[in-house]
């Protein structure tokens, strides 16, 4: 149990990267980036987890309860927003590429120029 989350992180990183390398479609490529990005979420949340601890919200638990790390959760929130914006920009570029050149294949776009 104790290392599986980290293995998942490595796996997500790897498949996402493989997807980006092999992709022949911008939309697919952008989705592969979001898979890689998922590895960062899993890592951040995994390192803050404490077995048996509660969520770091003291609305209905005693003030000195054992809680998981709130900082990584705040970092993940930032991470989510940051990468969502990058995806929005990339999608906008992919849409433009498709409208103007009728292709979402990165390699085909390069060939068209040659």
């Amino acid at each position: 149990m104790s290392v599986y989350p980290y293995i998942v992180v490595a796996w997500l990183l790897g498949v996402g990267l493989y997807g980006v390398i092999s992709s022949r479609n911008y939309i697919h490529l952008i989705m592969c980036l979001t898979v890689m990005q998922a590895s960062t979420y899993v890592l951040l949340l995994a390192i803050g987890y404490r077995t048996g601890a509660k969520a770091p919200i003291f609305a209905d638990i005693p003030e000195h309860s054992r809680v998981v790390d709130p900082i990584v959760q705040a970092l993940t929130l930032t991470d989510v927003v940051v990468e969502a914006t990058v995806v929005a920009l990339l999608l906008a570029l992919a849409v433009q590429a498709h409208k103007r050149y009728g292709t979402t294949d990165p390699d085909a776009m390069v060939r068209m120029r040659e």
Partner: protein, 248 residues
């Protein structure tokens, strides 16, 4: 070029995965970590800010400056999307609106009504999540996204034109995006004026468990909520424009 790329790429990815896993498994076993920093923040939020959600207090007070940057990343991506999609839209802006929406008739009555029925509850839920940010799970980002979901319900209900008009005639979302982003910086300046330190809390902490607790955090949450909703609405309607034009 594709074959060498795949061979080199696959080998490199395999080694990278192995290397990362090797490094990460050197960490403390899952669930047993300890961070003095995290512990300190988790257990200071109630005494220092009378706020019970320590994630939100971390994001909006202890590490508020990160959130300022993050908000501006969102803000600037909207500006970026508008810039990047501009030229295509220019071609189509003159067309009459009903030409743009051939699919509208195909929306079933059921999804129309469901869309209409969801708008109200989602908006109320969004407001609830935003203003309770410092107390329970939620906050400006989450609430803003839900508010946006309410507007997306309009889209699912087939009322594209309403959304399009919202973006074309009024500049509400753009103003919300810019105003929300400016709001957080102004809260920072409020701290500078009130206490002499940028982003320092300048409002009373209030009493634990009430809506007005956590000092400046509720204000920051509202400003972020407005910005997130405006930003996402901008992005959605920009991409929606493309979708509608694409169906020609």
């Amino acid at each position: 070029m594709t074959r060498p790329r795949m061979i080199i790429g696959c080998l490199a990815v395999l080694v990278l995965v192995g290397g990362f896993a090797w490094g990460a498994t050197g960490l403390h076993p899952f669930g047993t970590g300890h961070s003095r920093y995290g512990n300190h923040l988790a257990h200071s939020t109630v005494p220092q800010r009378a706020a019970t959600n320590s994630v939100v207090v971390t994001a909006f007070d202890y590490r508020a400056f990160d959130t300022v940057g993050e908000e501006f990343i969102l803000f600037i991506s909207v500006v970026g999307v508008v810039v990047l999609l501009r030229a295509i839209r220019g071609d189509a802006d003159d067309r009459p609106e009903d030409e743009l929406v051939p699919e509208q008739r195909r929306i079933s009555e059921a999804s129309r009504w469901l869309g209409a029925a969801l708008v109200g509850p989602l908006t109320v839920l969004a407001a609830y999540v935003v203003v309770h940010g410092q107390l329970t799970p939620g906050g400006g980002f989450q609430g803003g996204v839900i508010l946006m979901a309410g507007l997306a319900a309009i889209f699912l209900g087939g009322e594209y034109l309403l959304l399009l008009r919202l973006r074309r005639s009024a500049t509400v979302p753009q103003l919300a995006d810019a105003g929300g982003a400016a709001g957080f910086v102004m809260i920072g300046f409020g701290g500078l004026i009130g206490t002499g330190v940028f982003l320092q809390n300048f409002l009373p902490n209030g009493s634990q468990g009430s809506l007005l607790s956590g000092g400046m955090i509720p204000l920051a949450n509202i400003s972020v909520g407005i910005e997130v909703a405006g930003a996402l609405l901008m992005v959605l309607s920009e991409l929606l424009d493309q979708r509608l034009l694409g169906s020609q």
